[in-house]
């Protein structure tokens, strides 16, 4: 199409000479639209993008490769033969090589008696011809060349005791201990109306709780219930009623027994005395062959302990729990509590005079809990990093980033203190785990997960499509016209 020529002989002015119709001005207007749009893109990007702060990924990975190490020094005292330490070291090294997984994190060194200073990681074994005896961090043992292998076995059990990890409750700085006296049906008569629990707790539980106070704090609560039906009917056996091992797994009737409320998030360990209804006594636990087992107590892993108490037939109609029964119930509860918290046993041949725990046991527990917590914190941190990498819509706010950083700092401090103080190592490891879990479960990370990009396009398209099409069309037309003008200008020269 030839360029438009202003017709001659008209009184109208040529519009292309007008100021606002100048080619330059029109192109300026179009360009300014584009400039505004392009300048607005960063702003739009900022306001519509999800806040994703960068996590210290490399620090997390390097931290995860770290391994907590506890130095353990064993000093032999009062020994005749100077070669014994070296042979004991050899025996210990053999055991460590045989099961490296159990000894993970421990550097065991046996040294001679000449070390005068006693650092915190020092354990003493004194030669003595009496029976093996443990107290605090000392062990007296008949050390001879022939008993050295037995000593190494005893030390293995003292330092890395075997535990049932499925039974032990997960570590928490604070537990709630909920003691419950359950009457299956008080209205059926001969029920237990109450118990003198404060006294029983102060006698049987307080010593344990005091010894364990370096690991956990405890909140104690108790209640009595007068109607707590079972979810199944016990089997009728020759002399009374029995619970089969299969029924034990469904013994706790959570729907009917309101065992504890949810006023705090601390994990709860339940201790239940179950009084069968007067019409179902005696109630016994049956073994797999169907004969009554001598024990009336059982442990639910990570949940708590249950004792079935059958009141004697000559009991009054409605009486509190007798003192003798209370004592036996609470000593069983104490054993169950130690099992649930993973407190290790002493080797079978070693005696002790410690009221509850020796230093050997406590240290072994502290080391294991610290190792568990450190591994848990490292795994959680790795999971956070992986999750954030995988899900691109996931927001990462300042609180998540801060928790991850604090958790890493706590891990650093834990490594720093691992050779000096067990207590502060455990404290830092628990702190690291708590912070890492808090970051992992931060509710802010779920905020925009379910707002897909398609929705945004559905909202933007009606506006942008209809506005952008004329702009693009005009821009293309002007660029064409401009190139043509240049070509013509070049041809005219």
């Amino acid at each position: 199409m030839p360029p438009h020529v202003h017709p001659e002989g008209t009184t109208l002015r040529d519009p292309s000479k007008l100021f606002f119709q100048l080619d330059f001005n029109r192109r300026l207007i179009i360009a300014s639209y584009w400039v505004v749009i392009i300048a607005a893109i960063p702003l739009w990007w900022h306001f519509t993008s999800i806040e994703r702060l960068s996590l210290p990924t490399s620090r997390v990975h390097s931290q995860a490769a770290n391994q907590l190490r506890f130095p353990v020094q064993i000093q032999l005292e009062n020994i005749q033969d100077a070669s014994l330490p070296a042979s004991l070291q050899q025996l210990m090294d053999d055991r460590i090589q045989r099961s490296p997984q159990a000894w993970k994190g421990l550097d065991v060194r046996v040294r001679n008696q000449n070390g005068a200073n006693k650092p915190g990681d020092l354990y003493t074994v004194t030669a003595n011809d009496n029976i093996p005896f443990a107290s605090q961090r000392d062990l007296t043992y008949p050390i001879r060349a022939g008993t050295l292998s037995m000593l190494a076995d005893a030390l293995s059990i003292l330092l890395v005791p075997p535990t049932d990890t499925h039974r032990v409750a997960q570590y928490s700085p604070r537990y709630r201990l909920a003691f419950t006296l359950l009457n299956e049906d008080a209205a059926a008569g001969k029920s237990i109306s109450g118990w003198d629990i404060s006294d029983a707790i102060s006698r049987h539980m307080s010593p344990i709780l005091n010894d364990l106070s370096v690991l956990h704090n405890f909140t104690i609560e108790s209640q009595v219930q007068f109607h707590a039906p079972l979810a199944f009917s016990p089997l009728s056996v020759a002399d009374g009623y029995g619970i089969t091992p299969e029924d034990l797994t469904v013994f706790v009737n959570s729907a009917e027994w309101s065992l504890s409320s949810s006023v705090s998030n601390d994990p709860v360990l339940h201790f239940v005395v179950f009084i069968p209804s007067a019409s179902r006594r005696p109630l016994q636990i049956l073994d797999s062959r169907g004969s009554p087992s001598p024990s009336s107590a059982f442990l639910l892993p990570q949940w708590g302990g249950i004792i079935i108490y059958n009141p004697p037939p000559e009991q009054e109609s409605h009486a509190p729990l007798p003192q003798s029964a209370l004592n036996s119930v609470f000593s069983t509860f104490a054993t169950q509590l130690l099992a649930l918290l993973g407190v290790p046993n002493l080797p079978p041949d070693v005696q002790t005079d410690a009221p509850v725990l020796t230093g050997w046991q406590l240290d072994a527990l502290l080391r294991r809990r610290a190792l568990e917590n450190a591994k848990g914190a490292q795994d959680t941190l790795k999971s956070i990093v992986k999750l954030v990498d995988q899900i691109e819509n996931m927001p990462v706010g300042q609180d998540v980033k801060g928790d991850v950083q604090d958790s890493l700092t706590a891990l650093d401090q834990m490594y720093a203190s691992s050779s000096t103080s067990l207590n502060s190592t455990l404290h830092q490891s628990a702190n690291a785990l708590t912070l890492a879990s808090r970051a992992f479960f931060n509710p802010g990370m779920l905020a925009l997960l379910y707002f897909p990009a398609e929705h945004k396009y559905a909202v933007y398209t009606p506006l942008f499509a209809s506005a952008m099409i004329p702009m693009i069309a005009t821009a293309v037309r002007e660029i064409k016209a401009w190139r043509k003008q240049r070509r013509e200008a070049a041809a005219a020269q």
Partner: protein, 533 residues
Amino acid sequence: MRKSRFLWALCLPAACLSQSFSGETFNEELAIRALPDGKVASRFEFSTLLHGASPRNPRNLSSEDDSQHYTLFPLALGQILRQYAVTELHLTLNAGKWNYDRWGYPDEPDVATGASMWTWMAEGSPVPRHSVDARWRDLRNALAGLFCASLASLDEQRTTSPVLAFVPQGALPAWPQTEPHALRHASLPSEHVCTENLTPFLKLLPCKSRAGLARLLNPHRLLDADWHGMGLHVSWLPEEGVRVRLTFQSVTDPLRAGNTRDWSLSSLFDRKIEAACPVAASSRVVVALPTDESYSIRPEPSFVGQGRGIFDLAAQPLPLDVGLHWPTAFQYATLPTAQSPLSVRRTLHGSSQDHSTLAVSIKNAGPAAVRVAYLETLPWIVHLYLHTLELSVDGVPRADLLRDLSYTAPVPHGRAAALEAVLELPPNSTVSLRLGVGRAFLQYGEHPPDAQRGWELPAAVVVVLPEHPGNDSQRRVYTSALLVDPATPDFSMPYNVIIFSCSLVAFIFGSVFNGLTRRFIVVAAREPGLQAE
């Protein structure tokens, strides 16, 4: 035989001892009375007293609390009370409207429709999460979890602190260096009591619903009643201890089933009392006996006096099925006689979506002038125009009847409004109060589910003020809830709205852009006439 009786005599004091050694007592009572219109009102009261206990001082919230050992007191509730240092707590969940004109005053005064809650708590330590408001929020959430009710919706937008209407029922401890106690009150009229609220309620009782009077709490019958409501009341009595009262009231209509007003426990609740709760210190059924008619009651009450027949579960043969029989047929009264001297009616007038009039008429049928406090708590979506307040008696303006007025203005999207007026009601007259009301325009996200239904305004409360201060017995009269419907958008087509408005914006943009960039040219018109020239 003789030996066993001797043993029994020995057991009795032991049983009594065993009930008091733990320092907790549990009493239960069921009161049943026939109402003038042939219906039957029953009230269960389960009261547990923790002897010698006192509420927790909120200043000690940061330090470790004592271990909690309970025998009869519900542990789940005790933990909540200690955790949030609650001195006094009242929670009611009611369904229906209590008809004061026909039924008189209820045995339990809190009969507001829906969920209603008020507490007295002391200001805590300077830690923000121990402040009264933070604890009030956490307490609501904890109780919402305990009772499976949407108490968490009783948020800041519904919370008020009126001065006159809710005086503490127990005592408030005066702790040194602690701020005085503060009241928090909120109500949610749209909440309904249902089985899922009743089940946790029953779990708080020592014998649950398996023995004693609680055996009669049969959800199928109770939730079918004309009116029913449950309540939880915690108060501190300095000489005795902390008392928890769990109450359940219901109004049943025997005339609906048959043409007789005879009732029995099995006809009201479809159950009998089969076993006594062994830990209850007292367990009684109290029946109000008719005064001016012949009747027969079976079985024979353990004790009759003051127009009441009392059945003591310990002395009655079980199962117990109390029943009252009238030989004469029931005559419906043509004109219901007012059973309470005060009668309150509240309505909302006006058809526009932004303005209406709140009209309240309070009738005093008594022969003496009464001074009352009128309390209106409104969500912020409605606001009152105080200058339009009019008081009149039989059409004659009587501004002098207003003795006192306090008003907490609403904060949009934040705080509820509270109007508390002290009125003097002349004898045998009806005072009418009119107030202009404005309605807010709500944001898209602020509408409740089922927005077209409107918002329910909580019941207004009329409290008879005692003539001598210090007399703590308060009579509260609740009005019915009101529905207000604010302007609601069409929620069904948000995408259409987006497309419409985007099209409009695109059209305007296109026009402007076109006008700015259009190229104008002059075209020679080749018309025949011009060509000839």
